[in-house]
């Protein structure tokens, strides 16, 4: 039977080096697109305004974020704007004219 006294002290969570790498990748996606949370909030407001012309959406559950996805060549990642917009109901009438 293996007598692993050093294994006893081993941590279960992933090594901090890979944690650092993952955290960096995420933070750099935001840094590189140069999009602050303030800009994201403005974008969110505009999207709600436009979509509300056509359908009723659940503003509470609306989720807009910048993340990354694999690019077409599968050799790196590119930033994407992710939006999850739950629809409550469709407007029956034609879009409102301002």
């Amino acid at each position: 039977m293996a007598f692993d006294i050093f294994g006893f002290f081993k941590k279960k969570e992933p090594a901090s080096g890979s944690v650092a790498k993952d955290r960096l990748k995420l933070v750099l996606v935001h840094d590189r697109v140069d999009c602050s949370s303030q800009v994201l909030e403005m974008l969110k407001g505009d999207i709600i305004k436009v979509i509300s012309n056509y359908m009723e959406i659940d503003e509470e559950e609306l989720d807009i974020n910048i993340t990354q996805t694999e690019n077409e060549d599968h050799n790196g990642t590119v930033p994407v704007l992710y939006a999850n917009i739950p629809i409550k109901s469709m407007h029956r009438s034609a879009p409102k004219e301002d």
Partner: protein, 265 residues
Amino acid sequence: MGEVIVITSGKGGVGKTTTSANLGCGLAISGKKVALVDADIGLRNLDVVMGLENRIVYDLVDVVEGNCKLKSALIKDKRYAGLFLLPAAQTRDKDAVSPEQMQKLCQSLKDEGFDYIIIDCPAGIEQGFKNAIAGADRALVVTTPEVSAVRDADRIIGLLEANELPNPSLILNRLRIDMVKKGEMMSIEDVTEILAVDILGVVPDDESIVITTNKGEPAVTDENSKAGQAYRNITRRIMGEDVPLMNLETEETFMDKLKKFFRRS
């Protein structure tokens, strides 16, 4: 025709000044005529790292303001033929110099016949950074394998590209191979993958840097220093030689062997 190389990082304390001193000294030992320029106006340090702090008469601001000739401000390092230092002003601030003046200064240094002009850039992304990169032909970005330093390096790489200094090369400083092996530090590959730039060199974390800096003698001159060896390799790469990354492995300690023994049993 001389080449102007700016050493930058964004974050402070990652080893810009140490790198500037070692590369400047290494290039001079290789027979090149080198000017080390301290662009950190108000917080000069390259003089003290080089051990030349007692020889300053004029500084960079004196030169750009025309108070003295360029030649009289350049301090000749008597230990290494061909090595000169242009110190920063200590009692002025970054606004004392403009990017245009820095471009002119770099051109004058080229006209003086220097092969390499190494500019030690201040930390940050403000005026001091803009001044330091203004006259550069090429940029080296220094970082350490820590989240804060890598993040700032990424920002700096973006800013360099926006300022017509594309494809900067990276120097990864203070790497601890023992920690990388345990997975507790980002590896060379992790950092280059994140930053997507070419790596020019890796400098191991080494006590000899503290000791040589204490004495004002760059580690590049110390044959027994691991970091010194890394800087000698980087120097050769700057001059266009193809030198493989050095072996960073350290000898196993008694405790390492003991741990291995228990894991096997």
